[in-house]
């Protein structure tokens, strides 16, 4: 087998970058949405819940297409972003990260929500009697207690984000060095008549990466749980 070449490395780093940026972007929002879904009672909550989970059941290509309709350079919102902030999303690494974030968002919300539902509300009540105001309570009691869930959500979303294909290729296209992540590079290699060895190496790389990510996540969550005394 040939040594790892620059195209593979480029795809690998790009995948890591896209997944990392997507997690960084969606994590605070996911905590907020999970909190709203667990704690808030408002009309339309069920609809909101369904909307958040929509990317799980939609074809990824459809999600990419919707993003394009909303944020494409000719769409009003996309045009405004470009004109106001000089921010272009389609066909950029940032765009690939955004498409990935939308796709992995429900995974993250689910993990965080699950741990939020397990938080003993009695501990928050105890913090109240000790003089902690709402934000203080959230930061010093709730947040540390749901840390395992946040980590689990972040790592799962990161691992899933490494392999996001449909939404990325639809919204951000397949540009080498810009949006050609591992799965996109693998797909491109498979299209080329001489690309089989490269495709195999990329597949193995994806496999190893995924496995490492999941095992690492498990170990991390265990360590944090132990830290929390459970």
């Amino acid at each position: 087998m040939e040594p790892v070449n620059s195209a593979e490395l480029e795809a690998l780093w790009l995948s890591l970058e896209v997944a990392a940026r997507s997690v960084a972007f969606s994590l605070p929002l996911a905590v907020l949405v999970a909190w709203i879904l667990t704690r808030a009672r408002f009309p339309g909550r069920t609809l909101f819940d369904a909307f958040v989970h929509l990317p799980l059941v939609l074809p990824p290509v459809a999600v990419g297409y919707v993003l394009l309709l909303l944020l494409g350079t000719h769409a009003p919102l996309g045009h405004w972003l470009q004109a106001r902030f000089g921010m272009q999303l389609p066909f950029t690494t940032a765009g690939a990260a955004l498409a990935t974030a939308v796709m992995t968002f429900p995974l993250m919300v689910r993990a965080i929500r699950l741990s939020l539902e397990n938080v003993d509300r009695g501990l928050e009540a105890a913090a109240r009697t000790l003089g902690a105001r709402p934000l203080d309570r959230f930061l010093t009691i709730t947040l540390p207690l749901i840390l395992p869930g946040i980590l689990a959500g972040a790592v799962t979303a990161f691992a899933a984000g490494l392999g996001e294909f449909g939404a990325v290729i639809t919204f951000a296209a397949n540009i080498p060095g810009v949006t050609r992540t591992l799965p996109l590079a693998l797909y491109s290699a498979m299209q080329s008549p001489t690309g089989d060895p490269l495709a195999l190496r990329l597949a193995i790389l994806s496999f190893a990466l995924g496995l490492t990510g999941l095992l690492g996540a498990e170990l991390l969550v265990r360590r944090v749980r132990r830290m929390l005394g459970r």
Binding site: R128, T129, R133, I141, L228
Partner: protein, 370 residues
């Protein structure tokens, strides 16, 4: 003064309770489980909004539904020790202790960290996590955590209920120390009468969401309402008295009770200490003339004031022994044989040994602050 008057309706339960108790002191909320004790303290803490009512502590209004006042729990300065300790699992014992202390910035800190650690024997536990502590240790940390939040009132909701007998014995002395050393008023919820006897100064009896009656412990021990809650064998007058003489070798102390003296089985007290003793009604013998040649150490001369029939052909006789009242349970047959009637002079005979485990030191140590 703690004034409480609260109403809370729930589908299966309605609570309408009112009492006004003197502070400082230990106010016991006593009643069977399900009588609404926890609901009541949750409303005092502000954790549960009442449908209607007022809570007033030392002249400041914390809750008043009519005037729309509902001070948030985090601003009430009411410490709360829960049945299940509720320590924060991600913090060490020290972190838990400091949690409330840090958040009490705006009030003068009269209770210091070192003092609490010392008082509750926490020095060896400070670096441990809650899951590394025993049940009794957890409750001691929870107690310290509540104290360090510099509360103006401490709520204790059956803090010993989750502990077994030995662990309970391990925490009770600390609670007695707290009562003696700090002048923070406490509300102590319990369904164990022994805890009430050892700790409380004022007793509020709860039954099915209502206050049956309320008053100082000694006075309440004579009330028929208490007898509806207590097991018959636990019925007995509670007397508070001062130690006049101590027989260290014999393990007894002599109390001045009313105009008489009473030998009780109690160690580690010194003359002048305040002691509370419960004389169980079933342990008291009545005689209509002085008796000699008995091993009984105590013979209190008094007057029968009331005779109440009880279950199982027994009667409860109230005897005024020169101020304080003693309750004696005798059979209906014995009463007939003695022809006892109100106004008769009787001797109440009490074995000193029968007071073992029923006599407790009260406020023996000087209060740390007035």
């Amino acid at each position: 003064m703690l004034r409480v008057s609260l109403l809370k309706r729930r589908a299966e339960f309605a609570l309408a309770a009112a009492f006004a108790a003197p502070t400082p002191g230990v106010i016991a909320l006593f009643g069977r489980s399900g009588s609404g004790k926890t609901t009541l303290v949750d409303m005092i803490a502000g954790l549960l909004p009442p449908d209607e009512g007022q809570v007033e502590l030392a002249g400041s209004v914390l809750t008043d539904t009519r005037r729309g006042i509902a001070v948030a729990p985090e601003r009430r300065r009411i410490g709360y020790v829960f049945q299940e300790s509720r320590l924060f699992p991600h913090l060490t014992a020290a972190g838990n202790l400091r949690y409330g202390e840090k958040r009490a910035r705006s009030v003068p800190h009269s209770i210091r960290f070192e003092e609490v650690v010392d008082l509750l024997g926490l020095a060896a536990l400070l670096h441990r996590r809650p899951h590394e502590l025993s049940g009794g240790e957890r409750q001691r940390v929870a107690l310290g955590r509540a104290l360090l939040s510099q509360p103006q009132l401490l709520l204790l909701d059956e803090p010993l209920a989750a502990l077994d007998g030995a662990r309970r014995e391990e925490v009770l002395p600390y609670l007695e120390r707290l009562r003696d050393w700090l002048s923070i008023p406490m509300v102590y919820v319990s369904h164990q009468f022994e805890e009430v006897l050892r700790l409380a100064t004022y007793l509020v009896l709860l039954e099915e969401g209502r206050v049956l009656t309320a008053g100082p412990v000694a006075e309440m021990s004579l009330r028929p309402e208490l007898r509806t809650i207590l097991a018959p064998d636990l019925v007995g007058a509670v007397l508070d008295g001062l130690v006049t003489e101590v027989d260290a070798a014999g393990g007894t102390a002599e109390l001045a009770i009313g105009s008489g003296k009473l030998q009780v089985s109690l160690r580690e007290v010194s003359p002048g200490a305040r002691v509370r003793v419960q004389l169980l009604a079933r342990d008291i013998i009545l005689a209509i003339q002085p008796i000699e040649g008995l091993s009984v150490r105590n013979a209190l001369l008094g007057t029968v004031t009331e005779i109440t029939p009880e279950m199982q052909a027994s009667v409860l006789v109230k005897v005024d022994v020169g101020g304080p009242i003693v309750l004696a349970r005798i059979t209906e047959a014995a009463r007939t044989a003695l022809r006892l009637a109100p106004g008769d002079a009787v001797w109440a005979l009490v074995k000193a040994v029968s007071t073992r485990g029923h006599a407790f030191r009260l406020f023996g140590a000087p209060a740390r602050r007035a």
